[in-house]
Every structure is written in structure tokens, then in C-alpha cells.
Symmetry: C2
Subunit: 334 residues, 2 copies
């Protein structure tokens, strides 16, 4: 069923599961070589450090299953050692607080992606749920330059349209949308316009396709074929080299976690984000992608809609690996 | 004048200067290949991060002069590249606050030495200025084990006698006194007993000899010959393999800094530490060791009191390099 060849590396460029030995085992069953994990939604610097401490405990407890990766080379080494490589990222710039010096500190601690916003206005840019999109802020321009310098990737998954397009202009290195789908396929507020998709393609950026039901046409009932046809359609717009997977898998999380994601500490009333008061919790995953163990289904689905083996591998991880190779280290001197 | 050979590596295992390009230049003039710098006296976690940020700015500004070293291999590479390697350390456990998980976080950020106390009682042990020495605390035993696991060296330079001897027992890896001299030579409260010197030698630990005038017989007037004779006498007790240099050079610091060292935020009255109300500030350095550029004087002085070239090199850095090689990485599994 799986299309995977010995040299293929599969990457899921966003998950926030309720981590457990079982989930790490499922990564190995699903042949997932690398997962970009969220280590902060609204956490400040010190709280995010506590999350790194928790990851340190996982790496200590399961040294044969998982390891922390700082680079594409680390991911290849992890695969050679039979482990899944874990990359850190933030869905909000809260871990740098108001201190640009923390960008490099976080890079030193292994963070490789940082969203400039999570739905709301941040110190850096506007989130996709705000009414007014004021674009990249003064601090935002400085922080993007610093992220470019050290090799921390700008992720605009939860940002507003204008802020996202402006980030591509301001950033001297490619940016990413780690987890979203085209809005033309499913008009969720988190999905992205054709202008963004084209911009990513033209700037050597990347999008990771999301399996989160609120991002899928038909939600939890979306078929594997429909998902893979959407990828084929997007490849027509963006080309084959700038697309990958960013499943947004939130496996085994209690509903309290989606509340934390949506409400953090910023509101006293309850915001339902992509959900609603009738359906406030996590929606069920499509039955063909419930856990990491289902990753081969995506590869099979891509082959079934007509991608050849090389194209499947690019989408399943090759493109992300090329992107990591180019963007996780310090910016080469001009 | 200098005894230095091509392959020799010189290490100063403690300085807290008022860093400047001039001082880094003096390190190169003095052929100092590696300096262990203090990045915290009383700073909490977040404040110490700010100090790391300041060091990041130095490394960015002077990439051809200095670099941050995590290992003995990094130091050798720095020397090959014509740079001085900088190692981070704390003179107090304040940067880990009450959180044992921060031990590994700090190791990941490159800290390699941590004193369990700075003069006063800490959460971990008793400082050398307390009246009652209650030894290693409950948290202290846990933190020592964690430091042993990750490769963060226990430094007891400012600790009380009993706590120091107990640390050697509790620690499964060698400990260090990075900067102090034998109390038999000069009975300062910070200088160390014969029991401690012998203990260090028997456990493969290290002492770095201090050039801070309050630790010297005769203070600022101590002669190079007297200092080197003290080293020769200590070699008789400890052997040639467990001694090095830890100058405690506080070059160009204003007196407000020695006040911060002594008083932190723990007292409303002024404690004069090794000074006095008549002489509250930094004492002048001996004229043969005022800056890093004077480091060759020590090598010459050691040769003059009868050490051969191999012995001089061990004291000037070879012993510290062997110690770093063995103690800066994760503890090998038993």
C-alpha cells in the first residue's frame, strides 16, 4: 500500500497531539520520519521553557524512538538510527514576548518555526480572525529580519491575508504555511487565497496540507480521494516543489486543549474559533487519517490520483527536507 | 618569554571582566585559547537569558575573535580558527531557580559550570560565609545527580568546607573549584583546606588558581614567584594533573559590580565580603597579571620555579582540557 522507498523521508510539518509512547510508536508504524511539533500556543517565554523540559523528559524516556532535530542532517541521522525526528515550533510569537534577543535564544534551543500570529493581532502582525489587517508591525519587521538571520522560519498559517503577503515581501528568506489548505477548495478562514499560494510558490516557500476537519471540504467526512485531488489541483497552481503535509493532528487531546488554543488568556468570554457553541470540541478525524499510523494512506491516495513515485515523495517529505536544508541555518552572508 | 608550543592550549577557568573588544584582543595577545566566563551571580533564569543574549551580540559583532564553546572539541576548533573559545558558567544556582528541569535547559544553552552556592546558603548547599554549614540539601542531591547526567560541572569555589566535601561524595563525576587557592598559603575564607585539595585530587577533580588579590598572600603585592611557588607546593599535595588557572580576573569593572556580587538582592545593609568599609571596591591586580595579555607571565613564572615544559602546559590548560573532555558531555551509561 505504501509507496515508500528506502531513501524516502516523510515529514509531517505540524502536529499537536497529546503525546504518548503510543503516538510515538504510531509514527514509526506510519513511517513518519520527522514531525514538527507545536511547543507553544499562548505560552510566554518561561512557560515555553517548561514545555521544552517536558520534551527533554520524552527524549530521555524514549531514546530509541524519538530525538530532537535541529537540522535536515539531524533528520537523516534520526532515520538512519530508526528514530522519529522532532522539530519544535510556535503557533504564536508569545515565547519571544517583547524581546527580539529571544529569537536567537530559541533558535539555540532548537525552535525552527514561529507563527507571527495565532488568529489575533500580535506584536508582530495580524491574525486571520481580526477585522482589520494592519500588516507587519514595526517590531514585526525587526523580528522577521532577525528570524531570517538566525534561521527561524516565518510561519503564517494563522495570519491574515495582507499580513501574510507582506511577510513574504519583508522576509529575505522563504516563509511557510505549515498547516492550511486552499480557500478555493474549502472557504475556511484559516485556508489560503490563490494570491498566497502563488506567492509561496514564487518565493520558494511551502504549504503543508492540513487534515484538520475544519480545513477540509466536507469536514470529517472528506474522502481521501477528495483530499488528494485538492493536492493535485494545488500542484497545478503552485507546482510540485512547494507542497507538503502539515496534518495539524491533535490526537487524543481533551476539549480543554482546543479551548486553550482558542482563548488562551486573552478573553473572559468563550471564543469558538473554527468550532461553534453546538460543536465546541475537536471534530473527529476522517477515518483514513486518525493517527500517524495512517500516513501511508496519504501516499497511496496521492498515487491513486496520478502522482508518480517521485512526486509522491516530494509531497510526503522531500520538499520539506529541501526547505529545511535551506532555511534552518544562519543566513549565508550576502 | 612564553613557553607556549604550537599544540598547547591555554585555559583561564574563570573571569568576569567588563567585556570589551580590547579585552578580547588581549586574550589573543596573551594566547589565551579559552576563557570560562561568569554569566550569572544572582540573576534568575530570565535575567541570565538576557546575559546570554548579550553574549550572542558579542559573538555576532566579533566572529573572528571569539566564539561560544560547548565542548573540548569546540575549543580545539576555535584555536584552529584563531579565536578565543568562551565557556559559560554560573557562580550561583539562581539561574535554575527552583526548577531542576532548567539544569538540562542550561546545558542545552551551553552552560558548563554551576556553583552550588555563592557565599550564602542556597537551595542546594551552604556558602563559605555562613556560620552553619548544613551540607548538601535535599534539592542539592537531586540537582547534583541531574548535573552529573547532562554534563554540567559542580563548582564549589564559594561553598563552605563541609558542603564541598559532601559534594565530592554525592557527585558521581569529578567536581571543580574553578577559582581559589590553598588556605594554608593565604587564610582567606574563600581559599581551600588541605582536605578539599586532597579530595579533588583523589576524585579526578580540578582547582584553578586565583589571581584575585584577596586570595593572594600579600594581596596586590604578591609576587609572580610567590604565586608560582604556591602552585609548586600545591602540586606536591595534589599532583601535577589536577591544577590549573582560574584567574577570577574582573578587569575594568566598576565598584558597583563588586557590590552586586556581594549583595545581590539579599540584603538591605552593605556586606563587604572579602573587602572592608575602608576598601570596599576591587583591589588592584598584581602588576604581572593585570590583563589577559599577561598570561605568558604565568607560564614563565612556572618554568622559573622548576616546572618542565609538559608540566607548565598541564597547568596552563592541558589539565582543564582533559577535565572538559571528560565532564562536559552526558554521563556515559553505567
Amino acid at each position: 500500500m505504501s509507496q515508500k522507498r528506502e531513501t524516502d523521508i516523510w515529514v509531517d510539518c505540524l502536529q499537536y497531539a497529546n503525546w504518548s509512547e503510543q503516538i510515538f510508536q504510531e509514527m514509526q508504524i506510519g513511517q513518519v520520519d520527522c514531525v514538527h511539533v507545536t511547543i507553544a500556543y499562548h505560552e510566554n517565554f518561561r512557560e515555553t521553557i517548561l514545555n521544552v523540559e517536558a520534551w527533554n523528559r520524552w527524549f530521555e524516556a524514549l531514546p530509541n524512538r524519538i530525538c530532537h532535530a535541529h537540522s535536515a542532517a539531524d533528520i537523516r541521522q534520526a532515520k538512519a538510527d530508526g528514530k522519529t525526528a522532532i522539530i519544535y515550533g510556535f503557533q504564536n510569537p508569545s515565547p519571544i514576548e517583547d524581546d527580539i534577543g529571544l529569537v536567537e535564544i530559541w533558535h539555540q534551543l532548537g525552535a525552527r518555526f514561529m507563527q507571527l500570529t495565532y488568529n489575533n493581532q500580535s506584536l508582530l502582525a495580524t491574525g486571520c480572525y481580526e477585522e482589520t489587517d494592519s500588516g507587519i508591525t514595526r517590531m514585526g519587521r525587526e523580528v522577521i529580519a532577525e528570524m531570517n538571520r538566525v534561521g527561524l522560519v516565518v510561519d503564517m498559517s494563522h495570519s491574515a491575508e495582507g499580513s501574510t503577503l507582506e511577510a513574504m515581501e519583508v522576509s529575505s528568506r522563504p516563509i511557510a504555511i505549515t498547516h492550511a489548505n486552499p480557500a478555493s477548495w474549502h472557504p475556511a478562514r484559516r485556508n489560503k487565497s490563490r494570491a498566497i499560494l502563488e506567492g509561496l510558490s514564487q518565493t520558494d516557500g511551502m504549504i503543508g496540507f492540513s487534515l484538520y476537519p475544519h480545513h477540509l471540504q466536507g469536514g470529517s467526512d472528506c474522502s481521501l480521494e477528495a483530499f488528494c485531488r485538492m493536492i493535485a489541483d494545488t500542484a497545478e497552481i503552485m507546482g510540485i516543489d512547494h507542497i507538503g503535509i502539515g496534518s495539524d493532528l491533535c490526537q487524543d487531546q481533551p476539549d480543554s486543549i482546543v479551548e486553550w488554543m482558542r482563548n488562551g488568556r486573552w478573553t473572559r468570554t468563550k471564543d469558538f474559533g473554527e468550532g461553534s457553541s453546538d460543536a465546541p470540541g475537536f471534530p473527529p478525524q476522517p477515518d483514513w487519517f486518525e493517527t500517524n499510523a495512517h500516513m501511508p494512506n496519504i501516499a497511496s491516495g496521492l498515487a491513486a490520483v496520478g502522482f508518480n513515485a517521485d512526486e509522491v515523495q516530494k509531497i510526503m517529505g522531500g520538499n520539506w527536507m529541501r526547505f529545511f536544508e535551506a532555511n534552518f541555518g544562519p543566513q549565508p552572508k550576502a
